[in-house]
């Protein structure tokens, strides 16, 4: 078990997501930054779908109740293992009673804690990803315990990767989304020339952008949306749906983030800026 001594700002269990219930309105959920999680799960030779902790902005304090191997990835949060600094994208052995803490957020917004074999908390509708009310809670609280299997001996083939970081990237590559062709020249110009600021209305469901584009009167029937869909409200607000985003919507779908752009945006916080680039 992993015991949560302090919860941090917003820490959840996430895996690859909850599939096959979108026709019942259930968001796909799962890790926001798949690229960072792919690295840490690969280092630990885990399945890609192995469940990890997604740690947002301010990290928790965690006590290991048995031995295993861990790797951290994503945001840089000044992590320490028993008060000694540890790096991202490197495998560490942890023992019973070891303490993992996080400090200052240096870069990015979401860090990931993966461990050998993944967390083994209960699956609901085929996934361990937190999403209330499918799961009882929307985030971890103090004194929660998260189960995992003990790992005494693991010889990683590669114990560390010096991966190129995309945490500083600010350009989001996008495709045309279904209502792209209904936008006028002015709106298109605004979308692709403006620098947008991530508003403080940002979470796992959606990122709202502070700057607006010209308003519209496009009316459409409710239709499917997916993570990375950028909706445009009649007043001109841009809303980027993320992993816990609604499965259908009635606002025009302007552009669609690439998988990588979703990861880049997932590492942005309120006040950070981004631009869109059509590919």
């Amino acid at each position: 078990m992993l015991k949560v001594l302090k919860a941090g700002f917003y820490t959840t269990v996430q895996d690859a997501g909850r599939f096959h219930y979108r026709n019942k309105g259930v968001p796909v959920s799962g890790v926001m930054d798949e690229m960072s999680v792919f690295k840490v799960n690969s280092l630990l030779e885990n399945e890609e779908s192995a469940a990890v902790l997604e740690i947002t902005m301010t990290g928790p304090t965690l006590l290991f109740e048995k031995e295993t191997y861990i790797a951290l990835g994503g945001a840089e949060m000044s992590a320490t293992l028993n008060n000694a600094p540890i790096q991202n994208n490197k495998v560490y052995r942890v023992n019973e009673e070891d303490l993992l803490s996080f400090g200052r957020l240096e870069k990015g917004f979401r860090a990931y804690l993966a461990l050998k074999g993944g967390f083994t908390s209960k699956e609901i509708l085929g996934s361990r990803s937190f999403y209330k009310p499918i799961t009882k809670f929307n985030r971890l609280n103090e004194n929660d315990v998260i189960p995992f299997s003990i790992q005494e001996n693991f010889q990683p083939k590669i114990s560390e990767i010096k991966a190129a970081s995309f945490l500083d990237n600010t350009v989001l590559e996008v495709y045309k989304a279904p209502e792209f062709d209904l936008l006028n020249d002015k709106q298109l110009e605004e979308i692709f020339s403006k620098t947008f600021t991530v508003s403080h209305e940002n979470n796992r469901m959606a990122y709202q952008l502070s700057e607006t584009v010209s308003s519209h009167t496009i009316s459409m029937l409710t239709s499917a949306t997916i993570p990375g869909t950028v909706q445009l409200t009649p007043a001109g607000k841009m809303i980027v749906l993320m992993k816990d985003g609604q499965t259908t919507g009635g606002y025009p779908r302007t552009v669609q983030l690439t998988d990588k752009a979703i990861c880049i945006l997932a590492q942005k916080k309120g006040g950070d800026t981004i631009r869109f680039k059509l590919v």
Binding site: H20, P178, I226
Partner: protein, 245 residues
């Protein structure tokens, strides 16, 4: 009958959107569900694929792989052209009990005033219609119901509520629905349904599917309380009638 025309668009690299004419129509919805059924049975039989129908569209999603849009698009046109009449699937009419008690029908009086009717007339109009589920989205189990009586149409509330309780029965514009969980909401709330539309503890968490029909009937406050107790222990059984699609 000639099939309504379809338009196919890429939507990211993992999904493809098929669109039918831009109208709310039972004929179009039937066509979409017929095609969805064909695709689920004949083409997308493995777990990598997921389909989301809604009003006049059908989204096809691959979980991880990139889709070859040109090829898939031409395949879809072929499959659609060759789509045969097939046995109709089981389709259900669900009869859902609603308490219109003043504790739940927060806007019932206001709605009645706006529409120059009595509360009883509003309830009679709401329970008198058979609704079609045109989509499920916004929240797990949130149904977009078409078929509201034209006399019940009124705009959504000018100021949305920060909190609408689970089971709240609402109307707004040409739509009716039930909030399946506590959420912010802008619809006019006229009652409450104790039957949970979404229940994550069930293998099939949402008994309703797109294309099903819904009817509401009025129950007393006391019966509502009993239904709610049943729902809490998971022994509710929504009343269903098998109908031809």
């Amino acid at each position: 009958m000639n099939s309504p025309k379809i338009n196919i668009k890429p939507f990211g690299v993992h999904s493809v959107l098929i669109e039918w004419p831009n109208e709310v129509s039972e004929i179009i919805l039937e066509k979409i569900l017929h095609f969805e059924r064909f695709l689920t049975k004949e083409v997308y039989t493995n777990k990598e694929w997921e389909l989301v129908p809604s009003y006049n569209s059908l989204l096809i999603i691959n979980r991880t792989k990139q889709i070859d849009f040109q090829k898939l698009s031409s395949d879809i046109h072929d499959w659609y052209r060759q789509l045969k009449e097939s046995p109709k699937p089981a389709r259900y009419l669900w009869r859902l009990p609603v308490s219109y008690d003043s504790e739940f029908g927060l806007d019932l009086e206001e709605v009645a005033n706006q529409l120059h009717k009595t509360k009883e007339e509003i309830i009679a109009l709401h329970t008198g219609a058979t609704y079609t589920v045109f989509g499920i989205g916004f929240l797990p189990g949130f149904m977009y119901l078409g078929g509201i009586d034209a006399e019940l149409e009124l705009p959504r509330k000018a100021v949305p509520r920060a909190k609408v309780i689970k089971g709240a029965v609402g109307i707004a514009g040409k739509q009716a629905g039930i909030y399946p969980q506590e959420s912010p909401g802008g619809w006019n709330i006229i009652g409450n349904c104790a039957i949970p539309i979404f229940d994550a503890s069930k293998e099939n968490p949402c008994f309703v599917s797109v294309g099903d029909k819904i009817e509401f009937y009025k129950i007393s406050r006391a019966e509502h309380n009993l239904r709610k107790i049943e729902a809490e222990v998971g022994i509710y059984k929504p009343e269903k009638i098998n109908i031809d699609a």
